[in-house]
Symmetry: C2
Subunit: 352 residues, 2 copies
C-alpha cells in the first residue's frame, strides 16, 4: 500500500512528455513555484499542506530520536526526474537503535489503466481514462532498538491525489497507521501505545480506533505462521470524503502523527538500558526474522516496489533490521515469556 | 516451482473423500502396498523409482556432509494426512555449516481447476476437468557454510505426475537444478561447479547445459537489485515426453543429482578452513540478506507455499540462512573483491 511513497516506482509508467498538456511534471513545477513564491498556508492545496507537515514532523522526530540515541542520523536527499523526491534519514549502529529509518517521499506521476481500475473500486470519482496523473507523499519510519526488551515500532502516514486533465484535484485520500513489535511483551507498553493512539482517534471519531485497530491486526499478519507481526496499533486506508472532509481528515492525520513521540518515547526510555541475556538477544533475532518475513512476503507496498524496476531499493528496504536469524524448529519453552508473546501474537488482544 | 514438494500445500484443495472413487489417497495406499509387498525395480511406476532414488541420495549426501562437518544432522520425518510425507535433515551450527538442510517430500493430492489451467499451458495432455489427482516428489537442499570464502549451494530435483480418474498416469515431467552462491568469488570454483554440471548434461543432450544454464541465470535473479543471486548452475522445468522419454529423463536426473557431491565437495574442502577477517564475514552477512530477499520475494515455490495455509513452514524456510544482515547503502570499495563479485552478478558469465 505504501510503495509509491518510497520510490520512483511509477516513473516507468509515465508517458512521454507532451509539453502542451497539463501533466504531473507541470504540476510539480507549479507546486515548486507556489512554495517558492507564496509559501504554504491553510488555503494552499492539501498536498502542499501535507508535505509541509510531514517535513516538519520528520525533523522533529529525528531530533528527538537523536536525543534518545546520542548519535546522529545520516540524511540522504534525492529527487525524481519526473517530479518529487525524498529525504531518507538513517541511524545505523547507534547506541540505542541498531537501525532506525525515517523517510519522506513525494511522487508526481501517471497511473496506468490497471492501477486506475483497482483504485476505482474504492474511489468512484476517478475517471475511467487511459492514464491519470497523480500525486502521492508520505512519511515512513521503522525503529529497531538493540535491547531485546525494547520493541520495534513502525509508522506510516500518506496522502494520495489524482488530477483531472486540467490539473485540478479529482480524488484524494489519506492512509496510514502505527504499530508496535516487541520481542518481549510488557503489557504496560502495549497498553500505553494503544491508549495514546486511541486518544488521538477518539478526538475525531469514536469509531476510528476499534475499526483501525482491527484493520491493523488483520493487515500485519504473518498468515503463513498464523501469528501477527506484533501487538498492533492502528492501520487504515482510503480515508476520503465518504468518511470526512479533507480538512477534518488532515486534522486527524496530524493528531495521529503527533501522537507518535508520546506513544513511543516513554517505552524506549524504560527499556533501552534493561539487562538481558545472550539467549534473550537470540530470541530477538528470531523475531527479527519474522519481521523480515512479513515485510518481504506479505507487505503489499514492499513487494510492489521491489518488483518494479527503477525504485530506490535502499529506501524501501530501510525497514529491514540490521540483523535477523532463522533457527530451524525454534520453539519457546512452555510457560516462558517467549511462549506468552507467541500466544498473544496468535490471538490479538484488546489493550484498551 | 517447488512448493508442492516441500509441504502439505495442496491438502487444502483436496476434495471430501469419496471412497468409491479412485483418488490420490487410494493411490497413496496402493503405492504403499506395492513398496511393502513387491519392492521397487525398473518395471515399477516412475514415481516409485524416483522416490527410491531420492531417498538413497538423501542418505548418501547427508553421510558425506557429516564427514565434512564432523557433526550430525537432525532428522525429522513427517506424514501427510492425505498421503505422502517427508524427511527433513538439518544440521545447524555445525563445524563447517552454519545451516544445512537436505529435505525430501512426497505429496499425493488433488489439483484445483486454476492450477490445472496453468499446467495445461505446458502439458496439453492434462484433461480439462474440475479436479485432477497428482503426485509430486522431490529432494531439496541448501547449504550455508560459516566461512565467507566457502559458497552457499542450492539443489532441487523433482518429479510430477497427474492421474486419470482410473489412477493411470496422464502427464508427467521432471524439473530441477543446482546453483552456487559465493560471497567471495573464486573463478576456479565456479568453473569446476559448472564443468561438473555440463558433463552430466552433455552425456544426455548437448543442448541441455547451455539452455539450462541460461534458464538458471534468468530464474535466480534479484530483479529489484539488477543482480543474480549467485554464479548460477542449471535450472529446468517441464522435462516431459516432448523432450525425452521417461526412462531417459530419469537417467538424466540421476546423473545430475549424482554429480552434486563431485561438484561441491572439492570446493568446500578448499574453502572451509581459509582465514578470513571480520569485515569479510560482514560482507557474507550482507550477501545472505540478498539470499533471503530472493527466496522470500522472488522464488515462486516459497511464496506459493507460504501463502497457502497448512504448509510445513519450517521445511520451506529451511533454505534461509541462520543469520543475515541489511546495511543501508552498503557499497563495496572500487576494485575490491566484493566489487568484482557484484559485477559478475550483474553480468552473468560463461564459465565453461
Amino acid at each position: 500500500a505504501i510503495a509509491y511513497l518510497y520510490n520512483g516506482t511509477w516513473s516507468n509508467y509515465i508517458a512521454t512528455q507532451k509539453p502542451t498538456k497539463f501533466d504531473a511534471r507541470t504540476l510539480a513545477d507549479l507546486d515548486e513555484r507556489t512554495k517558492r513564491e507564496k509559501g504554504i498556508d491553510e488555503n494552499s492545496p492539501m498536498r502542499l499542506r501535507m508535505e509541509k507537515f510531514i517535513r516538519e514532523q520528520q525533523k522533529e522526530i529525528v531530533f528527538e530520536l537523536e536525543k534518545v540515541d546520542g548519535k546522529s542520523f545520516r540524511e540522504d536527499t534525492w529527487t525524481r526526474e519526473k517530479g518529487g523526491g525524498g529525504v531518507s534519514c538513517v541511524l545505523q549502529e547507534g547506541n540505542v537503535f541498531e537501525k532506525a529509518g525515517v523517510n519522506i517521499s513525494v511522487v508526481y506521476g501517471t497511473l496506468p489503466k490497471p492501477a486506475i481500475s483497482k483504485m476505482r473500486v474504492h474511489h468512484k470519482n476517478i475517471a475511467e481514462e487511459d492514464e491519470v496523473d497523480f500525486y502521492a507523499l508520505g512519511l515512513s519510519m521503522v525503529l529497531h532498538p538493540y535491547n531485546p526488551m525494547a520493541p520495534t515500532v513502525h509508522l506510516n502516514y500518506r496522502y494520495f491525489e489524482t488530477m483531472r486533465p486540467d490539473g485540478t484535484p479529482q480524488a484524494w485520500w489519506f492512509g496510514g497507521g502505527s504499530d508496535l513489535t516487541p520481542s518481549y511483551l510488557f503489557d504496560e507498553d502495549a497498553v500505553h501505545f494503544h491508549k495514546t493512539l486511541k486518544d488521538a482517534c477518539d478526538k475525531h471519531n469514536k469509531d476510528y480506533y476499534p475499526k483501525f485497530k482491527k484493520w491493523c491486526d488483520e493487515y500485519f499478519s504473518n498468515t503463513h505462521r498464523g501469528e501477527s507481526r506484533g501487538v498492533g496499533g492502528i492501520f487504515f486506508d482510503d480515508l476520503d470524503e465518504t468518511v470526512a472532509d479533507a480538512d477534518n481528515s488532515f486534522a486527524f492525520i496530524q493528531d495521529c502523527l503527533k501522537s507518535f513521540l508520546p506513544s513511543y518515547l516513554p517505552i524506549i526510555q524504560r527499556r533501552k538500558d534493561m539487562p538481558f541475556t545472550e539467549k534473550e538477544k537470540e530470541w530477538q533475532q528470531v523475531r527479527r526474522g519474522r519481521y523480515v518475513e512479513f515485510n518481504l512476503v506479505h507487505d503489499r507496498g514492499t513487494a510492489f516496489g521491489l518488483n518494479v524496476p527503477g525504485s530506490r531499493v535502499e529506501s524501501i528496504l530501510m525497514s529491514l533490521p540490521l540483523t535477523a536469524s532463522w533457527r530451524y524448529m525454534y520453539e519457546p519453552e512452555p510457560r516462558s515469556r517467549e511462549q506468552r508473546l507467541v500466544e498473544v501474537l496468535k490471538n490479538p488482544k484488546e489493550w484498551v
